[in-house]
Structures are given as structure tokens and as C-alpha cells.
Amino acid sequence: MSSISIQQLTKTYGPFAAVSDLTLDIPDGCVFGLLGPNGAGKTTTFKCMLGMARSTSGTTLFNGAPLVPASFESIAYVPERSVLYDWMTIAEHVQMTRHAFKAFDVARCKELLALFSLNEKQRVRSLSKGMKTAVAVAIAFARRAQTLILDEPTTGLDPINQREVLNLIINEATRGTTIVFSSHQIGQVERAAERIAILARGRLILEGAVDDLKADRKIVDGILPADDTPLAAFSTDPRVARADRNGRIVRLVVIADADGVATALSAAGAQGVRILDLNLEDIFINAVAPASSTADVVEV
């Protein structure tokens, strides 16, 4: 069992709040994707969860209990920036890690290093950024941990190795491992994650199962009879997150009951009413971008 509960986590640096009042529940065995623009607070969240940065307030519980040193036996973490030592070889890092963790699987680690075409005798100094990421991923996955926290685990990797990391995440998920990872590669998150959270400026702006978000969130668009057809009813409709118009063309970002909203839009006199699906990237952009920035979308 390995559930994670982040409760009202806040981290401030002077007047700047890197994370504000973040509450997230990550069920046991879930692959959870953390999305957000640069500076959204993803890395700070990971560091606070793991006690590597001191939270200003709030707590994180692993299996219902706060972290203790022994918890790290069952949690593996791949930080955003490499913490490998330049002067050591890959093999020396493997040695160091195997001594620190009982469950470390040396044979598996060798397999994983080979998967990424890494030579254990190489010193970290001679590795590219992507190769360092691969070393950190290989060592973390060989830990056989119940919980994996991966901060941008594909940074600098080529598309083939990115796919290998994705395969590893899915393989671990089939073993019931709880995995929290952040990524700017939305396509990867869309495949691997069952649930996601989107952070912006330190705040949680959207959370849910990827498939539920896709089922609920739609674009409804249509052509209004006139430039001045009133739309007020839609801008206050709780099912509508956003209403953009450009003359007679209207575009509604709907968060529930798209069929009902489409019917209402037709009833308001709109023609050519369509319901369009949104993928995770669309959902992300619509959640994060300011309202005006999608105005160009309606200029057909």
C-alpha cells in the first residue's frame, strides 16, 4: 500500500508563494501526472513532499503517516536536476545506492542501464544531460520502491529513450507501484497517467482522472444569428467555463453536460452547433491560458 496525501501545503520564499494551499490525494497504485507551466511549483511540491524543502505550512502523509527516515526505503525520487557526482562512474553510483537500500536490484539496474545504452564504466562528467537523466531513472527504478516520485524523468532524452521511460512507468504501474511524475510532454502524461493535477502560479487549478476530464470538457461552438445576440446566459452558466465570441461566431469551453449546452445554444438561435472533443493539451491550455489568448481560435 502506498497512498499519498498532500494537505494544505504552502511554501513561501519571502513574499513569494511557490506553492499555495495545495491539497492532493494520490491513491495507492495510481500513476499521477503533475502538469504546469514553468515556475508553477511542481518541483517545490516534490521537495516539500519529501522533506527536502521545509514546508511553510501543511503536511504530506505517506500511507497516512508523516515521513520518517525509514520511509525512504520505499520511496525513490528522480530530481529535476542531476545529483550525480561528476568524478564518479555510473558503476560507483550503483554501488553507493545498493548499499543504501536493501531492496536494490542490481541485475535489474544493469538491464536498465543497458536499455539506455549506458556504459557503467563511464564517469558522470562525460555524460550528456539526457544520459544523466537516464542514469538517475535506471537507479531509481532498480530500487523496487513502492512509490516513485519523478520530476521531469525524460528531460534531455531522445524520443526513443523517452518512450523507454514511458514503458518503464507503465510496467511499474502494472506492479501496483504508486507513481507521481511531472512532465512537459503532455502526450506522455496522456498515455501513462490515470489522474492529473494542473498547477499554475503555485495553485491547483484542475485535478481529475484524465478520461473523466476528456469526457466532461468539450468545446461547443456555433454561429449566432447576429453580432449582438446576447450571450449573458452562457457566461453565468455553471457548465460553461469560458465564453469567447468573435462577431457571430461563439465558442464555449464547457466543463459538464456538453449535450445540454449545445441544445441551449441552438435554442438561442445559433446554427452549426458542434461539440468538439478536447485532448489533454487543449484542456491544459484552456485551464492555464488567460481568456483572451484563445480569441484567435474563433477566427475561422
Binding site: G29, C30, V31, R163, L166, N167, I170, N171, A173, T174, G187, E190, R191, A192, A193, E194, V210, D211, D212, K214, A215, K218, G222, S266, Q271, G272, V273, R274, I275, L276, D277, L278, N279, L280, E281, D282
Partner: protein, 132 residues
Amino acid sequence: MPIVMTIDPRSGVPIYLQLIEQIKRSVALGVLTAGEQLPTVKQLAVDLTINPNTVARAYRDLEKDGLIETASGRGSFVRADGATQNAQTAGSDVARDTLESAVREGKALGLDRAAVRKLFAAALDRWLPEEV
């Protein structure tokens, strides 16, 4: 496993619904027959590079629909009882969704019932003519 699945994770259609649609289609077409074993959740997740809980969700829904059954420890199977009926239900489920979206599209473009009916009759005549 004889089923060939094509999942588009970047589509706005939930992945579990894509899986359900394809498995129903496979049953309707007889690619999956009564009593036949489906890939395990793990196998399908790994093969398609998608989340295993998402696959499990699709299997649960198919079980609720009476299309498959899961024997703990042995895997999931296309239900043996009433396989023909399952196939027909599966087929009409898939076809209904497609028809509904076609009618909605016609309506959105300003067609009335008569116009849609005419198109429907023409499509029937072309693709499913009465046997003489």
C-alpha cells in the same frame, strides 16, 4: 490474441471508451468469439503503452454490459452465453453512436427531419439495399 487495437491517446475521446468501442467492434465482427480470452490488463497496458487502471476500467464496464466476464486469477473472457446476442448488441452500440452523431451534425447544419430521413434512406439504399 487476435485483436488488433488502435488507440489514439492524443484524441479527446477517453481512452477507456476507445477500448470499449474496439472490443465491442471485435465481438460484433466475430474477431473475438464466445469464450475467447482477452489480453490481461497488464498485457494490454504494456502493448498499447497506456495506463493499466484505464484498461481495467474498460474491462469493468464491458463486464457490466454483460459482454465479458472475469474469472479471478484466470483472466477475462468473452461471455459464452448468448454470444450471438452479445455480438448484435455490441454491433448496434457502435453503430448507434455513429448514427447519432450523424443526425446531430445534420441538425447542426440546419437540416430538418425530412431532409435527414431522405439522407438516411439514400444511405440505406446504397449500403444496405433490400435483398430481391
